[in-house]
């Protein structure tokens, strides 16, 4: 009754619902597509790799629409900026896929992809961690002094420099209050697209920090705008996979039903926390993605793959989903307690937002 037979594989429907719900919460809160978690999870459940990739891509299409509708209501999406980003990203993804095919011809695809993914994510994660730690120290300091408000978040150094470059046409984005050269946005999204197309999964982990630190978007506007642009990039991927017969629509549907609830929850929590809390969760998610990739890379480089290493990667995938969801729910509970005037640990105060 609770199992589903797909291409000769029995898949537990309750597990599919759980994965959808958990990844939905993460996607709605952090703004990533969630393919890096759903694809390995489906493979672990027994679905062949090609079907797992295609099905997760189809699921991302539906889930990102749900997220977009909610984030739009909360004023988290800069549509104009999103459309420019989509143009750059799509061209970049195509080049990234071609680059991937080229490495396939050279015979070192998996190692090249995983090494690139690890290097990029470690760099991004380290930079984000440094910035977030420094910002938190600043907020904590300000909270010690009741009367003094800290300055509104300063534009990251890199974004300030890029916005200062006057290469026509320079466009003003009223919603996100940034004025930047069109060519710079196209270049940033193009390079991000190449990386996303080349590494296949984890595009959101590259796009989100790019939006915050290079383009200068506020954290939650980056979440909404990223989810909006994912609709188009995932649709493109879905078309490619549907043409190859890699989509099992029923599995994508089952996950979409529960993820639509999770995404609502994740998106609504953004009302209760500061941008810095989202960036912390992004760091944890990035770290989990890096750990899983490193284990896979080690297994690939070994002459004989180690089964226990594979099991560790599985544990990190499922444990990671659970851990991130627990962190997000804990933040929500803390925020509610703070608004009610109840006690919360001092180090969490700078992560939650005040109520109006």
């Amino acid at each position: 009754m609770t199992t589903l037979s797909v291409v000769g594989v029995q898949i537990n429907i309750l597990l599919l619902l759980f994965i959808g719900l958990a990844v939905g919460i993460l996607s709605g809160f952090v703004g990533v597509g969630g393919g890096y978690l759903v694809t390995p999870a489906l493979i672990i459940l027994g679905l062949p790799a090609n079907l797992a990739v295609g099905t997760s891509m189809a699921w991302i299409v539906g889930n990102s629409i749900v997220g977009t509708l909610r984030h739009r209501q909360m004023g988290n999406i800069d549509m104009k900026l999103g459309l420019v980003i989509i143009a750059g990203t799509m061209c970049g993804v195509e080049l990234g896929v071609r680059l991937l095919n080229w490495t396939k011809g050279m015979g070192f695809t998996d190692v090249a992809v995983l090494s690139t993914l690890v290097v990029i994510l470690v760099t991004i994660g380290a930079y984000t961690f440094r910035e977030v730690q420094s910002r938190k120290a600043q907020l904590d300091e300000a909270l010690k002094n009741k009367d003094k408000l800290p300055p509104a978040m300063r534009l990251p150094l890199m974004a300030r420099k890029l916005q200062g470059l006057n290469i026509p046409p320079v466009i003003h984005f009223a919603k996100s209050k940034i004025t930047i050269s069109l060519w710079l946005i196209l270049a940033i999204s193009f390079v991000t697209g190449i990386l996303a197309g080349f590494v296949g999964v984890g595009g959101g982990f590259i796009m989100m920090p790019s939006l915050i630190y290079l383009i200068g978007l506020p954290s939650f506007m980056a979440v909404g705008t990223d989810i909006f642009q994912i609709i188009f990039s995932a649709s493109f991927g879905c078309i490619r996979h549907a043409m190859s017969g890699n989509v099992v629509i029923l599995i994508a549907f089952i996950m979409l039903i529960s993820s639509s609830i999770g995404t609502q929850f994740g998106a609504l929590i953004t009302q209760y926390v500061r941008g810095i809390a989202m960036r912390y969760v992004l760091i944890v998610s990035t770290l989990l993605c890096v750990l899983g990739s490193i284990l896979k890379l080690i297994n690939l480089l070994l002459p004989v793959p180690l089964p226990w290493l594979q099991k560790c990667a599985v544990g990190i995938t499922f444990g990671g989903i659970a851990l991130v969801v627990i962190i997000v729910i804990a933040l929500f509970i803390m925020a509610i307690r703070y608004r009610r005037g109840q006690h919360i640990p001092a180090w969490v105060v700078s992560l939650v937002a005040k109520g109006d």
Binding site: N76, A252, V349, S350
Partner: protein, 94 residues
């Protein structure tokens, strides 16, 4: 008609549409129709498979998105716009 009643009607209508789509997908899966579509891959009917999959996900995503929005309205939860450019300010509380 009050806003609450309108929201309730929207919830019922969208829930029925969502259920019909789910029933269609489950039914086609159970009778093996979806597997037959796999045979169309590589033929001149590949575009039908692409449109079917993409259309269903876009449609279901939109229906569920609007449904969740209307449910939120119905239960009276107020979704506020986030003040992005004041997000890092504190309220002076310890």
């Amino acid at each position: 008609m009050t806003k609450r009643k309108k929201d309730a009607i929207w919830v019922v209508v969208l829930a029925i549409i969502a259920c019909l789509i789910v029933w269609h997908v489950a039914y086609w899966h159970s009778i093996g129709m979806y597997l037959k579509m796999f045979d169309w891959i590589g033929t001149d009917r590949t575009y039908v498979v692409v449109l079917y999959n993409l259309g269903l996900m876009l449609g279901m995503g939109s229906v569920l998105g609007f449904l969740m929005g209307k449910i939120t309205d119905l239960i009276g939860y107020e979704v506020r716009q986030i003040k992005h450019f004041e997000e890092e300010k504190t309220d002076g509380r310890k």
